[in-house]
């Protein structure tokens, strides 16, 4: 058998230089994604590229505030990504709620629900700040400190507990079922188990 650990430096380099972003703009920060991808900033120089499918993406950019409704989708999307995966929280709102610190529908501390590797402060962070965050993420990947996906596996119980506290038990099934009665032509009741 080949000892794949020998190739680790090569893999780390490739991971560092080829980060694919899940195209899930979760808040107002989505407006700064097009400038980042176009000629003034152009993050494709560093191999960063938006990708429509979470299955082949590495980097999850949380662009802005997160509402509980979006957080459910974020968690599902995050769990769909293959390891190793990284999360970059963008803006003040995922850090502590930002301007919505007293709002009833904005998550205050995102890292209670999914692990965050790098956070960028500011509202709205300038594209330069996001580039800086991506550079920082590259450094962390190189030194092996971007281990959010490992933390998520190790402390899964804790994260799961926080998520269930916020959304209530069995939220995944409830969310998947929520729209079925309205999609049927005749309004059918969905059985509760």
């Amino acid at each position: 058998m080949v000892d794949w650990r020998l190739f680790d430096p090569l893999f780390e380099y490739a991971r560092k230089r080829s980060m694919w972003i899940v195209s899930f703009c979760t808040g107002c920060g989505g407006i700064e994604m097009p400038p980042l991808a176009t000629s003034r900033y152009d993050f494709e120089r560093f191999g960063v590229m938006p990708n429509p499918s979470p299955r082949m993406a590495d980097l999850f950019l949380i662009t802005g505030y997160v509402t509980p409704k979006t957080l459910k989708r974020i968690i599902i999307t995050y769990e769909m990504q293959p390891d190793p995966k990284y999360v970059l929280a963008h803006g003040s709102c995922p850090l502590n709620g930002g301007i919505y610190w007293d709002g009833y529908n904005a998550i205050k501390h995102l890292d209670k629900y999914i692990p965050v590797d790098v956070a960028i402060a500011g509202c709205m962070p300038r594209p330069e700040a996001v580039m800086d965050g991506i550079q920082k993420m590259m450094e962390l990947i190189e030194t092996g400190e971007a281990d959010g996906w490992k933390r998520y596996k190790e402390n899964y119980e804790w994260y799961r507990k926080n998520q269930d506290e916020l959304f209530g038990e069995g939220w995944r099934e409830k969310t998947a079922r929520r729209w079925i009665p309205w999609l049927m032509d005749k309004k059918k009741e969905v059985k509760e188990e």
């Binding site: 989505g30 509402t67 529908n105 999609l183």
Partner: protein
């Protein structure tokens, strides 16, 4: 490694039902993790590649602005409410300030009116460029989109010089604007930018608006007629594409618009192509308005109301009363209804985003019978902006 079969078996054992599907149709969850929808989800019932039924699932961006606004002082609300409309954040600032001006009984000085008009028009141009980017990405002609986003950067730089912020400007305040124009150099740069974008419109025509394939993709889909559009509360370019010449800048003039010369383009077809063309003509008109404003030059005088109450904004108290103000945004009629009970915080603020009618009922009806490939195009041709709906 868990195989799919095992997962299904496990789900059955745990008493979970699999999604009950009707015969020959399947469900498609279109968004929010999707390149075409951005924080907005459509639940589609599909038959092959035709949509049978569509339901808009909104609320991914709900932050409860209208409740939060009741907890914040009058001036702080500007920094809050502008986050409702991300592509053109000057619009919520302007309507909120106009409504507060009306309750306060303030006559905004000429210079402030000029600056407000210019900022609104710049926001319109940048929002239209952003929309061109969105449409071209959905149609697959990425070149036009990349160029549009690059031209928008020039306006962003100008906004930055004027207000200090790239995206969120927090510039229009009750009683005027927050600070004066930085100088003549800024005006010259704005003039250059307007000329530059005007010269580049030809590129967009070639790539997008006069392109054969783009026409084939856009024409005949998502057709609305006049009666339907009026009954559904459609406003803005979407309404004008059905033959109704309703533009708030003409129907309910505000700021400097009565003095400006511009046309309201109207088309009759009411399909996605007509909506796209209307927006393209309006982009030209907006550049023309900016040219006129620059020719007029900013009038001299103060840039905000000379009122002692403005000196201490956190202690600003607005007399009891209510007012409705609306402006023409690129998406449609953007309105604010502000109620005050004489305290230092608003009693009630309601923002009326145009997408609340476009993005829910209109899209649900237009999508029935559409092909899956047309779903993002129809969505983009309506210029649906989810935060308007969610607030």
């Amino acid at each position: 490694m868990v195989s799919q079969q095992e997962l299904i078996r496990e789900a059955r054992e745990n008493g979970m039902e699999l999604l009950p599907l009707e015969k020959d149709t399947y469900e498609l969850f279109f968004g929010p993790q999707h390149m075409a929808t951005e924080n907005y989800s459509l639940i589609l019932k599909m038959d092959g590649h035709r949509v049978v039924k569509a339901i808009a699932n909104v609320g991914f961006l709900h932050r409860g602005f209208e409740k939060l606004a009741e907890y914040r002082p009058w001036h702080t609300n500007i920094a809050l409410l502008l986050r409702i409309c991300v592509p053109e954040p000057d619009v919520p600032e302007a309507i909120y300030s106009m409504a507060v001006d009306e309750i306060m009984g303030w006559e905004v000085p000429d210079r402030a009116q000029w600056i407000r008009t210019t900022v609104l028009e710049m926001a319109r141009v940048s929002a239209y460029l952003f929309w061109i980017m969105g449409l071209s990405f959905k149609l697959g002609v990425y070149t036009a989109g990349q160029w549009a986003a690059a031209y928008r950067e020039r306006l962003m730089a100008l906004f930055e010089q004027l207000t200090g912020g790239r995206v969120y400007h927090i510039y229009t305040i009750p009683g005027g604007v927050r600070r004066d124009i930085p100088g003549d150099r800024w005006l010259r740069e704005l003039k250059d930018t307007v000329e530059y974008i005007k010269a580049k419109l030809k590129d967009f025509d070639n790539l997008l608006f006069e392109n054969y394939i783009a026409h084939r993709r856009l024409e005949g889909i998502g057709v609305m007629d006049k009666k339907f559009a009026l009954a559904e509360g459609v406003t803005g370019p979407n309404l004008r594409a059905t033959g109704v010449a309703y533009d708030v800048r003409r129907a309910d003039p505000y700021l400097l618009y009565p003095e400006l010369d511009f046309e309201v383009p109207v088309l009759k077809e009411g399909d996605a192509l007509a909506r796209a063309m209307i927006r393209r003509f309006e982009l030209e008109q907006d550049l023309y308005i900016l040219e006129q404003l620059l020719e007029m030059g900013p009038p001299s005088g103060p840039y905000k109301v000379q009122d002692p109450r403005l000196k201490n904004l956190p202690r600003l108290k607005v007399p009891a009363g209510d007012a409705f103000a609306h402006v023409e945004a690129t998406k449609g009629d953007f309105g604010a209804y502000v109620v005050s009970d004489g305290k230092n915080k608003p009693y009630r603020v309601q923002i009326r985003g145009p997408s609340i009618s476009h993005g829910v009922r209109v899209i649900e009806q237009l999508l029935v019978g559409a092909r899956l490939a047309d779903v993002p195009v129809i969505l983009m041709s309506l210029d649906n902006c989810p935060p308007d709906i969610d607030r």
